[in-house]
Symmetry: C2
């Protein structure tokens, strides 16, 4: 049965990138202000907050972020919890917000994702990110995330014939879409030749196959169907939600060319929404690496296993294709402030569904799917959303 009542009534993100001089609490507050007062939702109406941050303990030496950030954002006193599931932290906060609304305990809640990553060295950030993998079996022996996704890429290449050029095309598309997104970290198109520059990070993944280290925040307001029209004429319903987990370490997986948690969470979300991949007009997926977008496009059922690369080659996933994926630019080119990402994905879907995506507007925009995962797909959250008037 589709979710009874959860609607998104406002959504906003800060600029993503290296936000010099701005602290975590400042970035967080900017997103909150944009999604509340600036969007016509008084802060007094917010009853609870659900916050996604991945690893501020290591990045900014701060735990217990929820009350701290809320206080700074002018929301002191509210019930607020920090939700963490590595790169899926934002989407797990969103799911907690959904359950809060569906439970009837709250009418109107705020979901925020935020991360400040650039105040430490790249090495330190890489170490922090590695905490999303199994420390005993992976991180401690030197396997960090470019390596892990390099393994997935090699598997996909071997099993399906996917090429380095196919992956590079994902990067070209991401940069093209982000070039017209003023909040993106990289607002610059790149050529296929440039994307193929052989600066390997972890073979076969090259520099342009990897999402960057970023600062940023995103926020959305959820409310019940009853209250939604108070805030906007164009609410977006969340119809279905799914979440699944898998073994943290790759050695516990049956295969590496598909992430079982993505497949399971997608099925849950589609089943709950009583919809299928063919009903989706577009998708926002977790493209931490280009290969991750190709695999995700198959795992969410847009394409058969092994056919994701062909879809990119044929332009099917382009902004003007039949099944646009990451129409604003994705993690790859917009940036990946880890805790913010899952919430930012919902922001993108909201903007696209209500027709306010500007130069990045997809043509058909009734229904869409978001897919956010953590680690090497050890946690996956999928939501199916539809414009309330669609």
């Amino acid at each position: 049965m589709p979710l009874k009542t959860t609607n998104i009534v406002s959504a906003a993100q800060t600029k993503f990138g290296k936000l010099d001089g701005l602290t975590l609490r400042e970035i967080f507050s900017e997103a909150v202000d944009k999604a509340t007062v600036d969007a016509g939702v008084p802060k007094e109406d917010i009853q609870a907050a659900f916050i996604g941050t991945f690893i501020p303990e290591m990045l900014v030496h701060q735990g217990h972020t929820a009350p701290l950030l809320l206080d700074y954002a002018g929301l002191k006193g509210l019930p607020a919890t920090r939700h963490e599931a590595a790169c899926a932290s934002g989407a797990t906060a969103l799911r907690a917000g959904i359950m809060a609304i569906e439970s009837g305990i709250y009418d109107t809640v705020l979901v925020v994702g935020a991360e400040k990553m650039t105040s430490v060295s790249t090495n330190k950030a890489t170490e922090a990110l590695a905490a999303a993998a199994d420390d005993t079996f992976e991180s401690s022996i030197g396997l960090t995330f470019p390596g892990v996704f390099g393994i997935a890429a090699v598997s996909h290449m071997q099993k399906y014939g996917t090429t380095e050029e196919d992956m590079a095309r994902v990067a070209v598309k991401a940069h093209k879409n982000a070039s017209t997104n003023p909040l993106a970290q990289f607002q610059k198109e790149i050529s296929l030749e440039k994307a193929m520059t052989p600066r390997y990070i972890a073979w076969p993944l090259k520099l342009f196959d990897c999402s960057p280290i970023s600062d940023g925040a995103a926020a959305i307001v959820l409310t019940s169907a009853e209250k939604a029209k108070q805030y906007t004429d164009t609410p977006v319903r969340i119809l279905g939600t799914g979440q699944a987990s898998a073994s943290m370490n790759l050695c516990g997986r049956k295969e590496l060319t598909s992430f079982e948690a993505s497949v399971a969470a997608s099925k849950q979300a589609y089943d709950m929404a009583k919809l299928s991949p063919k009903d989706m007009d577009f998708a926002v997926v977790h493209d931490c690496f280009t290969i991750a977008e190709i695999i995700a496009s198959e795992d969410i059922g847009f394409f058969k296993p092994g056919e994701g690369a062909k879809a990119v080659r044929d332009g099917v996933t382009a902004l003007d294709g039949d099944k646009p994926i990451n129409p604003m630019g994705g993690l790859k080119a917009v940036g990946h402030p880890v805790g913010a990402t899952g919430v930012k994905q919902a922001v993108v879907i909201y903007k696209e569904l209500i027709g306010e995506a500007g130069a990045n507007q997809v043509q058909n925009h009734d229904t869409a799917i978001m897919h956010n995962f953590g680690g090497t797909g050890a946690t996956c959250v999928v939501n199916v959303m539809r414009r309330a008037d669609a």
Copy 2:
């Protein structure tokens, strides 16, 4: 309106203490097994998990704990998120579980709290714990938690005449109760003279005013009213739940002799349950320091502001008193593996309410309140629970 449907049908904790040779995942799994298969709840019935851990990033160099721990505990695949709110992490996971059940999205879920703290030095653990305070305004200038609660103690002493001996009596009671609790870290009574040993940690708090650094885990199974009788003849209902936040740093507080988030969360939980302090047979409160128990006993409305110390002196909060507090021994003597604490508090209430607390059984056991906070009370969660047949 009281919560519609959430019941606790099983609850268990591991031994708390310095659990040498046991890793976080092993401790976690032990608690899960005790609360599921050992308690007649098949693991196959669990649909989702809500996990509280405070700071495994710094204590065991591991983030993204939810899928990792679930996999090890034989629950791979389930949706699972880690919830963090410093020392209230466990209770925020519990609240997420409550919302999941109340939303109707899941029928049966697992809530687990766990922490492995003793594998690092005491200095490193103290640094990790300090991440629960505001790094900019408190931790970075050297104010760690014994200092923060020392300030609260001084304030209470100055305003109400509370004495070091009053605080020591809280420790004596805690150790007495824990002496018959086989899962406690300290199963040994102490004399008032010993509790007054002038080994100051942060004046006026002495060694025996402080809860220890501990390893441990606790788990409970929540299910809907409809399903509860499948698992036990003695389910416990959660009638009311509240959560509030306050400024992280003390300089943002109006007063230090009461924690405003505790007062607010208690009011929410009582109001939802349509009950009041006089309806509570006993309480389990967050006694990270002895002064914290005195303040909590006032904040939850058991005693008027400033009268908590007298209640301890008069034996009102003793196991056989009129308003027993922490009947199993509290954080002070049972131990405080941070993420586990909020869930362990629910375990204590469950055991007491169903009459299975052995030598620590309180006489009247229909209805009780649990109070778990994080930081210097910057997050507080309060739940009101009642035996389903009461």
